[in-house]
Structure formats: structure tokens, C-alpha cells
Amino acid sequence: MNTLYAVILAGLVFYIGYRFYARRIDRDIIQSDPRKATPATLYMDGVDFVPASRGVLYGYHFKSIAAAGPIVGAITAANLWGWLPSIIWLLLGVTFIGWMSDYSAIMVSVRNDGNSLSAIAHRLIAPRTRTILLFFIFFYLLLVAGAFGNIIVGVLFGQPQVPLAIVTLVVMGLLGGQMLYRWRTDLIVMTLVTVGVTLLMIVLGPLGMVVNPPAAQGAAPQIVQGPIGQLMVGWNTLVNGITGGAPVISYFDPTLPLPPNAPAGVAVANVNITPAFLFWLVFLCAFAYLGSILPIWRFAQPINYIGFWITFLTIALAGLGAALAVFLKPEVGMLQLAAVRAPDLGFTMEAGRAWQPLWPMLFVTIACGAISGWHALIGSVGTSRQIENETDVLPVGGGSMFTEMTLGMLSLLAVAVAGQGAGVPAFANGVGSFLSVFAIPQHIGTALGFSSFVVIVITVFQLVIRVMRVTLAEGLGDRMAIFRNPHVGIVISLLLMCLLVLSGVWVYLWQLFGSSNQLMASLSLLVVTVWLASTRRSTTFALIPTLFMYITTMAATLVIPRNLWETVVVPNMAREGAGIAVYGAIAMILVSVLLFVAAAFIGLDGWRAYQQYRRQEAAPTPAPAQPAT
């Protein structure tokens, strides 16, 4: 198998799924009608309701849904189960569920005066659905903050060539906001300056770095940092000197390898939180604090914009490299990773070990590239109010989701060609390999992969903290006035995130985030199904995915606490200094249980509403009244 076949396969699925399935649903079941007025044209107020062309909206919606999610999910799944199951789920998921979730959420909103999905759920299902949705959103944000925070601090601490790019991003973000909104600089000039300087610093970071071949067979290559990398290494060493090099916290992480001299069968501490790690955690908190407290135009928005360009350029170049590798550098184009990593697909359960069965865990690990509840929620309040014509909903909602699948596919290929390593390093190595097709040195390409990845993730992270603050204020501000204070909201959000970063086992954290996301997806699919029943349309195309996603996600929400209990709480309970890991795991178990109970309520309400509308449909139409004679 090589990357070209995978690219062709993705293109074929995109074409066939969109042309023959999505269009048929749009034409025959939803019956989109270009003559029907949309909320954007009915209620045009120049702000929230503004009709925009489908080309602009396609770009807008795609940018709103595609970033770190499909990348992280795909690389995690490839590491757990291999590339083959991951590719199959990406392709089937987007074809039968993913596009439909985005498309129908937007369409339902368009047909309901531009109301958000939660408002429609309130009306069609039950009033408490809306409250439960807010609850989901908060935990969704918290979990994504913990998962992304973990990745960012790990890379900033472990890859000394990267921090310069992030510091530059902060400066360029501030400059970008000033240029655009205060100095009224042209957008193109602002883009060239801010993105250009950030890219330059990304390249400068690894300059002078030398990668020596490994000393022994199977060992990692020896890396000698360039001047900037050495400066950062020196800084980390200086900070670690505070405790004389001793770790501040130590615990056992079941997903990481044990130290080489560890006795067999004993859960030896394999995670050491050093002062330098804590320093980068504080740096991340300061970054997020700026993004949350400053006006959105001043920092958060321009940072997001610069991050978009860095990602876009890296992914576009890497995608081109993946397609051309077979012709220009065939050794790069071959998938090195095993197609299936475990013959039993993870179904064998052993006491004391993490249980990662393909079903249901794959379906929550890869969320955004295949189906995501977040897309549906955002689409129903933003995109749906700008749709000019009902027939635009398919290319905008469905088309964007199919396009996002290609992003997940590319991430998967990057990990698969890297072969060795796991997670972010494997992704960065894969991007480096793809860029080497264009004669860019492998280590520069890898550094670009690392930096672009951190840039994507950190831009999302600061917004997540900002939104957590807003959600806390809206959810609790009426009951406790202190939550209306933005500083309080930010500090609480950051403290919760730090607890997850310091205690969280990353894979579980990501899967729990995926579960909350997929539960929101199940909810949006449920709303669509009930709406179809209430308007007497065929529900099959939405009902089957709803049931599949609901049952799968509920099952995954039970597997995660089991894994946390067996592999984190039990082995670390008696360990000195591992209290934070145990408390963190127990907190995550509680979150899982809460998500499960909340989802059970939604499922019950949804099923009742569905049955009620079906009964109405089955009831005979009353005969017209006869005129009195």
C-alpha cells in the first residue's frame, strides 16, 4: 500500500458519497427547494442573518470545523489499532454519518427560522435537553483543554526548537490585531508580515540541528540541537536546577513504556513532572490568559488567523507530497506502520491492563474526521443563518465535512509513513518525510511538522479557555455573581485544565473528549431524526446512524472509567507522591459517569418524542367536516 492509492481512495469516496448518496438524500428526502426563503433572506439584519454565496460559506464552514481534531484523532487511532481500521472508519463514517450530521443540522436550522439546535431540541424533545447540552459543552471544552494542554506542554518541553515559534506567534498575534483594526492595514499585507515572520521563526528554530544515526540498532537517532535549541535546553536545565533535577511529581502511566531497568510486573513510576515542565505549563496558562482577557480582535482572532495559515500551508504541502511521493521519492510513499496493530483488534480483556476494543473505542478516538457533534452545533447557529439558498446547504455542510475527512486521512498517512514512534512525533516525522519530496531537509520538515502542530493546537486551546470562561459566566453567573468576573472564570478554567494535564493519562483524556463530542453528535442526530418524524419524512437515513452513534458512545463512556480504575487508580493508590494522578483519574471517572447519566436522559426524552411523532403520523387524518344541510 502506498500513499497514492490512499489519496485516490479518499477522492473516490468523496465523489461517490457526495454524488450518489448525499445528493439523493438532499433531493428526495429533504427536498431542498431554491424557491424557499431562508432565514438569511427573511430576517436579514446585516449582522447575524446575512446571505452569503455558497463559495464563501464553504470556505467559512470548512475553516470552522477543520483543525486539530481530525489530526489528533487519526494519529491516536493509527497508533492503537493500525492504519487500516482507521481509514475504514474515516471513509465509512463520513459517507454514512458525518456529512449527514453537518448537513441536516444546518438544514433543520434553516427550516426552523435559523434557530439553534438546542432551541429546536427544547421545542421538539424536552426543555431539559437544552440544559444538558450546556453541561456537555462545558465538559467537552474542559476535556479538550486538558488533552491539548498535555500535548502542547509536552512538545514545548521536549522539543527545544519549537518554543521560539510560539513566542513569535504571541508577538505576531498582537501585531496582527493592531495592524488590521487600528492601523487599517490591508489584509494581504498583514497576512504577509505576520505569517511570514512566524514561518521564518519556525524554520530558524531547528537551524543548525544535526541528526546523527542511532548508536545501536533500534535506538533513537541522536540529535544535536542548533543554537536556538541549545538555548532552550540550557533554560530547561537552569529551571530544573531549582530542585536539583529531582521531579516534583511521579506516577505510573499505563500507556507509556516502563523504564528499561524496571522489574517485570511492577508498576514503576514512568512519568516525572519536572520544574521545567511546570514552567512551560505556566507559560501556556499565561498565553491562554491573554487570549481570554483581551478583546477578541486584539489577540484571539489574529492568532487564530495566523495559525490557520501555518496549518493550511503545512497540510497543503504535505498533501501534495503524499500524492507525488510515489513518483518523486517512492521510499517515502510506502506505509511503514502495520495495517492492523493487534490481531484481536484489542478485544481481549486482561485484568490490570488498558482495554481498547476496536468497538466502541475507535469510534470515539476518531471523532472530527468522521463525525463530530461540535460541527452540528456551530453550523446550526452560524452557517445556517447565512445560507442564501436551500440548495447551498449540501455543498456547504456536506461538502465541508467530506473535505475535512481528507485532512484526517492525510494525518493518518503521515503517521503511517513515519512507521516508528507514536502520536505527535510520528505525525511530525511523517510531515517531514512528505516535505522531503520537495528537497526540504527531513529535520527541517519534521520541525515544521512539530511547530505547525503546536500552533494549531495552541490557537484552539486559548479559545477553549476563553469559551469556558464565557460558558461558566452564562451557566452560573445568574446564581453566583462571582462567575461573572472574567478573571475568576479564567482562573477556574485554567486550574481545572492544569489538574488534567498533571494527572491525566493522555489517551483516556482524548477518548473521553471524543465521547463527549460523539454524545453531542448523537444528540444532534437525534434532533434531526425527531424533526424528520415530526415533518413526516422517512427517518431511516438518520435513525440508523443515531442509534449506532448513541449505543457506541454510551459503551465507550463505560469502558473509559474501567480503564482508569484498573490502570491508574489501582496501581498508583499506594504510591507515595502519586496522589494527584489518583485524584485526577477519579475526577475523570466522575465526569464519565455524569456524561453517561446525562446522555441517558437525552436518549429517553428523544425516544419518547420520536414515538409521539410516529404515533401522530400513524393516526388517520380526520375527515373534513360536512356542511350542514
Binding site: 439584519d45 446575512v50 446571505p51 455558497r54 463559495g55 464553504y58 477543520a66 487564530n304 490557520f308 452545533l377
Partner: protein, 140 residues
């Protein structure tokens, strides 16, 4: 604070839907930049050239949607928030908040009339937490 009638912000009457006296070709609406996929664009050249021009136009619209459109929306939102406040101060009587003496409100009324309907709709519409600008920016 300019209050001259702005055609782009003037609310339009609702378009008739199917079965309610729909017209064959509804009048074109003011909208954000970019136009469709470019099919059937009139101009010199053959079919291939038209298709190419349509593709380039679509690509430009797509790129604009990914880049500058969010700034345009944010700027529009910021302006609307300021203007909403201005209308509230000057014409608050409409919703029972008499801030300015009625004489001045009545003098300003003709300038504000075109946007009053949209203003009321914006103020009275139920909003969801997800409608904050920040949510639009989170890409997941």
C-alpha cells in the same frame, strides 16, 4: 455616529415561499462577497474559458471564506453593537426607556426608521451561548 440609511443593512420584506405567491425570479439580494460556483457566467470566450473563470471565481470565494470573511463578520458585529446602543440611547422610548427628550428623538426618528425593524429583532431575539463570537473561532 452616522445614521444615514444603509441599503446593505436595511431589512427586506420576506420573500414569498412556494405556494404563497412565489415569483419566478426573486429580486437579487445584497450579500457578502463571492458569487456561486460561477456556472453560466456571461463573457467572451468559449465554454472552457467560462468554466475556468467560474472555477477561479469559486476558488477566490472559498479562500475569502476561509480568511477575510471572519474579519468582515466581526467588524459588522462590532458596528451593529455600537449602533444598537446608539439607537437605544436616542430612541429608547420605543421600548420604554426614555433617555433623550422626545423632541430630539423625533428629529432623529426619520434617519433611524429604516433600521428599526432589524434593531428590534436583534434585541428581542432569543440568544444561545453558542452565538458568541468565540465559538465561531474554535475549529475542531
Amino acid at each position: 455616529m452616522p445614521l444615514t440609511p444603509d441599503p446593505a443593512l436595511t431589512p427586506r420584506p420576506p420573500l414569498p415561499t412556494v405556494g404563497e405567491g412565489a415569483t419566478e425570479e426573486p429580486a437579487p439580494l445584497p450579500r457578502a462577497r463571492g458569487r456561486g460556483w460561477g456556472r453560466g457566467i456571461p463573457g467572451p470566450g468559449g465554454e472552457g474559458r467560462l468554466r475556468l473563470r467560474g472555477f477561479v471565481r469559486s476558488l477566490k470565494a472559498f479562500l475569502y471564506g476561509m480568511t477575510g470573511y471572519e474579519f468582515e463578520r466581526h467588524a459588522l458585529g462590532e458596528r451593529a453593537r455600537l449602533e444598537d446602543l446608539f439607537v437605544l440611547i436616542t430612541l429608547g422610548d420605543i421600548i420604554g426607556v426614555p433617555i433623550l427628550p422626545p423632541y430630539y428623538s423625533l428629529r432623529l426618528l426619520p434617519f433611524a426608521v429604516p433600521r428599526l425593524e432589524a434593531w428590534k429583532r436583534r434585541l428581542l431575539r432569543e440568544r444561545h451561548t453558542l452565538e458568541n463570537d468565540e465559538y465561531d473561532l474554535i475549529e475542531l
